[in-house]
């Protein structure tokens, strides 16, 4: 049982936003889609939700094609950057709206699960941004989806709220056995929340795997570094002690996700983060080379 995308293409005006996406998300998995702005991740989400059509390719759930099925029949709900609580309703009424039986009790139960008990009759503007986002999450869950899409829902929140909400969502989704697809530009967030991560770059899948595997193969995935007047993905650059024309100085060593990394300063005064060999020492000069 799973969500399967094969060869998904999407073009907007004169830009190819998605150029052949293949993705498979098994039931019950929390999957993260990571990429910079413009990589096509939000578009992909909207296609899965049914808010956009695909130009080519297939989209199926449990081998049943979803293309052509209107959004309100897909049992796929979405959480956006903005809570988008309907302004003419109270907090609780927003959740009740989504429940299959329009049940106040169910809504109140959901509100308790997102740690907002007793707030049914509150007005939207009485809640903080983070609380509103929690209500929106409760509402998305109340609709009994089989897949929940999360479109950078933590973007507008301050860091503490972010962590709290990330953990809440991860825990609740796991508890309910839901399948979830999270879109984010924050790699750390993806690592924290997801079972598997897919890296999107310029409308294509660049890499896919568990956070551990990706950390080893994609140390700073998404970054670009200039070398010889051209931009290369950081993945294609290595740091070596064999002299080349591009010198860098190792300023700081650290470990992240079990991987040895270093912060290097370049002649122009900018800094890059790249892998570090065990033998490297702080303060020493090393060289950049295209792999």
């Amino acid at each position: 049982m799973s969500l399967v995308l094969t060869g998904v293409h999407k073009r907007f005006k004169d830009r190819d936003v998605l150029r052949g996406i293949d993705l498979e998300i098994p039931n019950g998995e929390i999957h993260a889609l990571v990429g910079v702005s413009g990589s096509g991740k939000s578009t992909l989400l909207r296609i899965i939700a049914g808010l956009e059509t695909l130009d080519a390719g297939n989209l199926t759930w449990d081998e049943t094609p979803l293309d052509g099925v209107p959004p309100h029949l897909r049992r796929i709900t979405m959480l956006s950057q903005s809570p988008l609580l309907f302004p003419h309703l109270t907090v609780g009424e927003n959740v009740t709206l989504a429940t299959p039986n329009r049940s106040r009790q169910e809504a109140e139960a959901w509100l308790s699960r997102v740690r907002l008990p007793g707030r049914y009759d509150a007005e939207i503007h009485e809640l903080s941004g983070g609380e509103q986002q929690r209500v929106s999450f409760a509402r998305a869950l109340a609709a009994s989806p089989r897949l929940i899409l999360l479109d950078e829902p933590f973007t507008n929140l301050d860091p503490n709220l972010k962590y709290e909400l990330q953990r809440l969502i991860r825990d609740l989704v796991r508890e309910l056995g839901l399948t979830a697809l999270l879109v984010t530009h924050d790699r750390e967030e993806a690592m924290l929340v997801a079972d598997r991560v897919t890296l999107l770059e310029a409308g294509r899948v660049r890499a896919s795997g568990t956070p551990q595997v990706l950390a080893e193969t994609e140390s700073t995935f998404g970054d670009f570094i200039e070398l010889d007047g051209r931009l290369y993905p950081s993945l294609h650059i290595e740091v070596t002690d064999s002299p080349t024309e591009e010198t860098v100085e190792l300023v700081r060593s650290f470990t992240r996700f079990g991987h040895r990394l270093g912060e290097y300063r370049r002649g122009q005064g900018d800094y890059v983060i790249l892998p570090r060999d065990e033998s490297f020492r702080d303060g020493e000069t090393y060289y950049l080379r295209k792999k």
Partner: protein, 257 residues
């Protein structure tokens, strides 16, 4: 400079209220039972019928068109709907009169002046749909598409999607339009004078005629009717606005544009 404009505007706008005050003054001591004759009662019935049918049709069609233009970005439709706005009501009424006088194109299928006031209604709908369209399209232009998308992904039926993502924002412009149209259509002379029948006449037509022809005493009947009708609308406006005030305030506080 805008100060002087303000004071002049206030003076001009005070005139209708002054007019109503004078109507009250003139109808003191009026014998209200005189309004209980068949002509006024029949007029009231037919006026309510024509007003409500015209208004409701205009609101529904105008909103539906605004929605279509919004969803499909049909600028051609928006441009086309401006044409009726160039035609004064009187001219529209006469055009419809000519169209329905027998001969091309309707060949007397419906007569211009007939009991059910169909052509009157048609004329008003033709003229008022663009007005409602204009009032409503502004709301759709400001509508946060996110709400519409959210309603879809929450697995709501298309009707529920409309009810929850669009309707709350339509209440104000539709309420405004409803009362402007009711005030305009229910007590007008120009259009029904050209397209109505001799009995029963619409309220405005009857009032004007009783004012300008016949006995001096009849003038007070017209003033009295004008007064009650204005007060009736006034109560309707106040009532409907206060009933929706709480909801509208809530929307203003909670909406994200």
């Amino acid at each position: 400079m805008s100060r002087s404009s303000l004071w002049l505007s206030l003076f001009v706008l005070a005139l209708p209220f002054t007019g109503v005050a004078f109507l009250i003054y003139e109808t003191v001591g009026f014998d209200w039972s005189e309004l209980n004759d068949a002509a006024w009662r029949a007029s009231l019935a037919v006026t309510l019928y024509v007003t409500l049918v015209s208004t409701v049709l205009s609101l529904v069609i105008g909103t539906w068109l605004a929605r279509s233009v919004y969803r499909r970005q049909s600028t051609w439709l928006a441009s086309l709907l401006r044409w009726p706005m160039f035609v004064p009501h009187v001219a529209a009424a006469y055009l419809f009169y000519v169209l329905f006088s027998g001969g091309f194109p309707f060949y007397g299928l419906v007569e211009a002046n007939e009991r059910h006031h169909l052509v009157v209604i048609l004329t008003y709908v033709w003229k008022e749909v663009p007005f409602v369209f204009l009032m409503v399209i502004g709301t759709y232009a400001q509508l946060n598409q996110g709400y519409v998308d959210m309603a879809k992904t929450l697995q709501l039926t298309p009707f529920e999607q409309f009810k929850v993502a669009e309707w709350p924002f339509l209440v104000k412009p539709l309420l405004d339009s409803f009362w402007v149209l009711v005030a305009f259509i229910s007590f007008a002379y120009e259009v029904p004078a050209l397209l109505g029948v001799t009995f029963p006449e619409l309220l405005g037509v009857l009032a004007y005629e009783r004012l300008t022809t016949g006995l001096f005493l009849n003038a007070y009947e017209s003033y009295a009717v004008a007064l009650i009708w204005t007060l009736f609308i006034f109560i309707g406006v106040i009532g409907s606005y206060s009933m929706t005030a709480k909801r509208r305030r809530r929307i203003e506080r909670g909406v994200r544009r």
